[in-house]
């Protein structure tokens, strides 16, 4: 058997398919193997693509002969053959597109808060930042809810800016991405983040009020310092809260201050005594009070570029067209099993 014939044989094709299926199974059960981004998995796909290419090339002369020769039965035959030709060609183009995407495509996430801009994205949650070459500004963020309270859809109004000049913009909705300069932007997720807390401190005689962001530090009239470590809009379903680090020359304390402390004390009578870290009067003589937390939405936006995608789309269309032709052929001709051990419907 000639090497090309051996390589183009069904046995080789089925063997490669079995290997790809086995590797994929391993990939779903052991994600740590990272099968789908490994070089050997790509090699299996390349081998399958070569097998398809050789098969398809070998099939071409007979296909032409079938199309040229007239007569209704040979035309029906040709439709079936053309179908198989399209299916295999389509799969080949899909694999080529997937490889192009794997080599030169990328994707990542960016998180932008309302009214803020970002010019970088991260390929992985802890990955290095990559420059977009321009920045994305989130002008407005909206969540629409169902009557029952579940989110229905969410949207980001975004503007693309470079050096202060507006380059373009668009409305990003779930399932409705925006394309810009070869990149596609998708609405992936959203959330809320606390920005600032309204705090007051009282020692019975003096009173200080401040609006503070996380990380801010201020001084009370007696020189005691208050630093905001964390701000939460809703901590453990107990409402707005801030984590404070209060420090004087003599002592230091770390505790949470809840906005609805009176309610919570009513619900859990010993909360301040049992959990000193939840006692707003822990740092005597000062008693701290949280009057409100200011929050805002942020949008999780996915950025992707995939030069292989049009290839994959074209391949899929070709493959589906081929399947449609094959189906037509079966509807017209029917299937008849033969006793000879060979199916009636042989590709070539």
């Amino acid at each position: 058997m000639k090497p090309t014939r051996l390589f183009a044989s069904t046995r080789t094709a089925v063997g490669l398919l079995a290997l790809i299926a086995a590797a994929s199974t391993a990939g779903t059960f052991a994600p740590s193997l990272d099968v789908f981004r490994s070089a050997w998995f790509a090699l299996l796909l390349i081998l399958l693509a070569l097998n398809l290419a050789v098969c398809t090339a070998q099939r071409t002369p007979a296909l032409w002969k079938g199309i040229r020769s007239s007569g209704p039965s040979s035309r029906k035959e040709a439709a079936g053959r053309l179908g198989l030709y399209f299916i295999h060609g389509g799969v080949l183009v899909i694999i080529v597109g997937a490889l192009i995407g794997a080599v030169s495509g990328f994707s990542g996430e960016m998180r932008i808060a309302e009214k803020e801009s970002a010019g970088v994205f991260h390929a992985a949650p802890q990955g290095a930042a990559r420059e977009l070459g321009f920045s994305v500004r989130l002008d407005r963020f909206l969540v629409e809810h169902y009557g029952g309270g579940a989110p229905k859809t969410f949207r980001s109004d975004i503007t693309f800016v470079r050096d202060g000049a507006v380059l373009g913009g668009g409305v990003l909705l779930v399932n409705h991405p925006v394309s810009f300069q070869g990149l596609r932007f998708f609405q992936a997720s959203y959330g809320r983040e606390a920005v600032a807390a309204e705090l007051t401190a009282d020692d019975g005689r003096r009173r200080a009020a401040r609006r503070m962001a996380a990380g801010d530090k201020c001084f009370l009239p007696d020189g005691t310092s208050v630093r905001v470590l964390r701000i939460e809009e809703d901590l453990m379903r107990m409402g707005p809260a801030v984590k404070l680090q209060v420090e004087s020359k003599e002592k230091e304390a770390l505790f949470w201050v809840f906005q609805r402390i009176e309610e919570l004390e009513e619900q859990y009578p010993d909360v301040s005594a049992a959990h000193p870290q939840f006692n707003p009067g822990l740092f005597k003589p000062w008693r701290l009070r949280l009057n409100g937390v200011e929050g805002r939405y942020y949008a999780g936006i996915q950025v992707a570029r995939d030069p292989g995608a049009p290839w994959v789309a074209a391949g899929a269309v070709l493959m589906l067209a081929g399947l449609a032709l094959l189906f037509f052929r079966i509807i017209v001709n029917g299937v008849h099993s033969s006793r000879s051990g060979k199916a009636d419907f042989r590709p070539l």
Binding site: A18, T153, M319, L320
Partner: protein, 280 residues
């Protein structure tokens, strides 16, 4: 959870399928023509009720103000699977009376009883999650589920073919009960091709949807990967048949193997973390 009229109609469809299944099982051994016809008529009646329930559920979702095609949760998906299975059975009965119905109707009634009365299933109509609000939902889910149903039919026919071969070898009275192996082989092949085409369309529709929802047409999510594995198994089965002449028992065995992969794609994958976690 609210009990809506549609779930009651689905339960009645389950009852009619059960009656039809009993008639099929009673009629098949003797190949009694009139009984088989009665069984098929009652299957048609159940199917009509089932179709009405699907439409009713769709209408009820609009009355609730969260209108969407009934294809979004586990209950809706198994109810649709049973519907597609019965549809294929009724279509195939036109070529081979009594053969598909005798196992599809019992299976469909079991699935419908499980869907209607199992305590672990949420039967209420829920609003769609933001990402599911897409025109691709219907085409993706309908073609995938109809593909699964077609593969289920192929698997059931495969079991019948293998059981029949065993009986013939054992010299039992198989001739009466078991249909012609060549006819079964034909039906298995048709179901495999139809399932393969539907699965291909379903994967393609899902990819287009993922391209606009998740930013990539393919993300090697466990369900995607398993749908590819399933596709490969059937692709290999069709190649072995068309160019190596695998028929009969071998095709039947491949149809059963393929359906194990389908079951894992449909149900097993839910135990792995991934993007397709809507069925839970």
């Amino acid at each position: 959870m609210q009990s809506a009229a549609n779930t009651t109609v689905f339960a009645w469809a389950a009852v009619i399928y059960f009656l039809s299944a009993l008639i099929y099982i009673a009629a098949a051994p003797g190949k009694r023509e009139n009984w088989l016809k009665t069984a098929a008529y009652s299957a048609w009646a159940g199917f009509a009720l089932h179709t009405f329930a699907l439409a009713l559920r769709w209408i009820e979702s609009y009355r609730m103000g969260i209108g969407h095609a009934p294809l979004s949760n586990f209950y809706e998906s198994i109810v649709f699977l049973a519907w597609a299975g019965v549809l294929f059975s009724l279509v195939m009965e036109r070529r081979s009376v009594g053969v598909p119905g005798v196992f599809i109707l019992p299976a469909a009634s079991l699935v419908m009883f499980y869907a209607s009365f199992s305590s672990g299933i949420e039967r209420g109509i829920q609003p769609l999650a933001p990402v599911l609000r897409s025109n691709w939902l219907a085409s993706h889910v309908i073609s995938c589920l109809m593909g699964y149903a077609s593969f289920a039919v192929a698997c059931g026919l495969g079991v019948m073919l293998l059981a029949g071969e065993r009986k013939i070898r054992a010299g039992g009275p198989s001739g009466k009960f078991m249909p012609d192996a060549a006819r079964l082989d034909e039906l298995i092949y048709c179901s495999l091709v139809l399932g393969f085409i539907l699965l291909s369309i379903g994967i393609a529709a899902g990819s287009v949807w993922a391209h606009s929802a998740w930013g990539t047409y393919w993300s090697w999510d466990p369900k995607e990967t398993w749908s590819l594995i399933t596709w490969i198994v059937y692709a290999a089965a069709l190649h072995l048949r068309l160019s190596r002449g695998w028929q009969g028992k071998r095709t039947a065995a491949l149809a059963i193997l393929g359906f194990i992969s389908v079951l894992f794609t449909y149900l097993g994958v839910n135990f792995l973390p991934g993007l397709h976690s809507y069925l839970n």
